[in-house]
Assembly symmetry: D2
Homo-oligomer: 275 residues x 4
């Protein structure tokens, strides 16, 4: 049977994936959740029709959204992930021995449950004793915590979704306050190729709040355009000035100490968005 998942990446360009099996599909309280098994990318988490993560290429996103801030901070002990219910970010965070606690604040408990069941390669660390799971609204959670986290990672769906409130200045102010005095914030901030204005706006929002703000890129095959931006906002440390010779060996497939620097070198058309 030829069953195809169709993702309209942008009006007029759609990616289609041959599907072997639909493992789960349900309307959760917040979104249309599915986990499907595909020929090319293995199992995929799909929220509201958008591919979030796949067994075959998840490593790029999860390594880059975590190791860049965690190796920028000299001693991250307490880390918060807003969103990220698949657990991939938590898995990478807990590779850092300094981390004592990694809090996952995911609004949709079904994402966590289904990923635990069907994507164990990604969600495996959610049962780690250092991981604390809080099912609830990230905006509220961040508001209620002050001066507490060394690193806050916003691992959300797109801004035109339930995650809308996780993009923009108001939320970033609360994040600033929830961070310790040398804390670091990072968020996935969409594709500069298809959505340059979004990248620009979000970056400027962050820059108005954080003394150090940088954009870095990673090549993710299943994300529209294949090249994804992340915005990092830092109170003190500059991620591009890290002494990479001191970064310890980590079990990764994308991240390397050299990539830590190179990912901040932007193609000219992206550079111009964040000038």
């Amino acid at each position: 049977m030829e069953m195809w998942l169709k993702e309209m990446q942008i009006e007029g360009a759609a990616m289609t994936y041959k599907v072997k099996e639909t493992l789960v599909r349900k309307k959760t309280q917040y979104q249309d959740l599915a986990i499907v098994d595909t020929d090319v990318f293995g199992r995929m988490l799909v929220l509201d029709g958008i591919v979030q993560t796949t067994i075959k290429d998840e490593f790029v996103y999860h390594e880059m959204i975590t190791h860049i801030p965690l190796f920028t901070h000299p001693n991250p002990k307490k880390v918060l992930v807003v969103g990220g219910g698949d657990g991939g970010a938590i898995r990478e965070i807990l590779k850092h021995p300094s981390v004592e606690k990694a809090v996952l604040c995911e609004i949709d408990g079904d994402v966590i449950e289904e990923c635990k069941k069907y994507l164990p390669e990604i969600s495996c660390a959610l049962d780690d004793p250092r991981c604390e799971i809080f099912v609830g609204d990230g905006i509220q959670y961040v508001k209620e915590h002050k001066n507490e986290f060394d690193v806050i990672i916003v691992d959300s769906t797109d801004p035109f979704s339930i995650a809308e409130g996780l993009f923009g200045g108001n939320f970033y102010k609360d994040i600033y306050n929830a961070l310790t005095e040398d804390g670091i914030f990072v968020a996935q901030t969409e594709t500069p190729f298809y959505l340059p204005e979004t990248v620009k706006k979000v970056f400027n929002d962050a820059r108005n709040i954080f003394p150090v703000t940088k954009l870095f890129m990673a090549a993710i095959p299943t994300y529209p355009g294949g090249y994804w931006s992340f915005t990092i906002g830092s109170k003190k440390y500059d991620p591009t000035q890290v002494d990479t010779t001191k970064i310890p060996e980590l079990d990764t497939k994308y991240y390397t100490p050299e990539i830590h620097k190179a990912c901040f070198v932007l193609p000219k058309y992206i550079q111009e968005l964040v000038k």
Copy 2:
């Protein structure tokens, strides 16, 4: 009318583009040639069903396949492009004032004619007096020229096509001989994500012939996986050791002197292919 171009990027994953207009479609002596106008990427050259280049993202490929070798060589005067009938590489090459002659050796004259007609933004430099066009077999052409070119660029279709002979050791030996004593060779060498073995083999073939061999990457939205490899083989100069402070300002949208270095920094899974 909903007309969609479907490109099977790999068995089980297809990209589809909404098409506004088919400007030309013909069987040439060598291949199925089409130029179509799409909603998202503007006009596209499609050969044997594979998207070769588009108005919207062609700059990435054409800048990276040319400026990396041309800024590695201190004084490139004579440059050969094998393939590249769309003229994009020639356009970038002729931005270098040192270049006295840029030869285009394209086997399929129809590609040149149709791109001149329908893709003037890309083919515009084919009429430059410094450009010499030779319609014929690149393998033969390279065999017949010795010690002549400072830079040879292999801007071909995929290895599973009429371009098969443009990949691999035999051809690279002839290229080596066609280069001057400090000459540099570069080729597009496919996607490490989908075709790791191809990247590995081609890179090793080049490494067996050239004293300096490196892989570099560029993020090209319309290419499968979105992240494309290029192999550079050099008799003398190391492209990663270029003094980028001396690179003059050029009118580009992707390439920058900083990208010149950063593009050689490979994600770990790609690094391991070329160890």
Copy 3:
């Protein structure tokens, strides 16, 4: 190159046809017009994205919309086709020796021109001296002619298009008046499977005006649901009471005298729409 025409037959079910060549595509004054050549159905006329007629299966529609009324009327001399710019209905009408004049009233002159150019198998009779072409509004044309035509055929696009005014009671009254005292009207009236309410409404509108009103069906592969309805309204003759033994042999591929009767025998679910 894999180029596919996608026709959304109904929200959630789309037919896709592999396209070899796009012969013409233009925005006319009224609609998006295309003629494409497909692997399976040969050349197709596509208006506003909807397949209107194809070389391979056009015979069904054109034979049935014409021979049913023309063999019901004992001596049709003057026939009007509203719409039908491809010329297929005219071609069939002129197979009837009694016909002295067949008027084509098509609003979109481009349809006529392009079909003459690219669909000669269908449009061939448009140059017949008995055919008179009038490019203009069918509603207006019908209003301005009284007691003139023996048969009026409404060969239009769907009611959710520029053809909207060609469906419904107001237009049918004018048709009634434009017919001679024993005149017959026929129209294509959509798919009872997907659009039962449309069939029902249109049929009732006709029944309120014509003494004899009947629905007949034909199996047309490229039309949604594959089974198409036609409504016939007649002032005097009952199409189901024709003495089929007197129908002369005609060069057809679908219509036969036996089909003339059988096509009025409706499956129960369709019968119930027109009770």
Copy 4:
């Protein structure tokens, strides 16, 4: 999530259905079995990628493959269905009060089980005490029964599948022998539009064996071409000579006594296949 089932109806023309849910998908001993829920046709049984039956249009096929032979035979008591694991034919057969026993001989027990579970509207009569289910090879079953059935219905998948042996003269001879002396055989025999040669061959195979052989048609939206042929072979009774005034009222949505006759009236291009 946009999930689409793609059925290649013939090379170059594919029907696609938006899928809400995949209820079951498994490799059985014989085929790839799926039951999916679609937006337009409700639940569908799909075998080896081919749509077999859907909640929305199954009535056409199941009524026509059963009531034509059962109302042709004056007193059918024992009926065999070869294939038909979904139970739709059995459901219709058991509407005939004369029937004492309806045997279902389906090779793939999984089809029966899954249809019982997910398609109760179709499979509902499989639990009727008059229905006897035999899971096994229809060819063998028919060989082993002589002079036993009043009606045998071959409700199989396409001839280019595991059902290959259920088409053609050898099997029809065994069917002839398994029928009582006034028995009637019917089979689904594909689309005359796309596969005229198949229809012709199968019909001729039947005609070589049965004194009375006829083709009849039904309009089935989800079958390729939308218009499906059935071949009936009869030892004694002519299905076109039935006294339809004596056919009792039955709860149907497609079949009527008038349709019983009209379905044998063939369009000319189909008539010519069975001359």
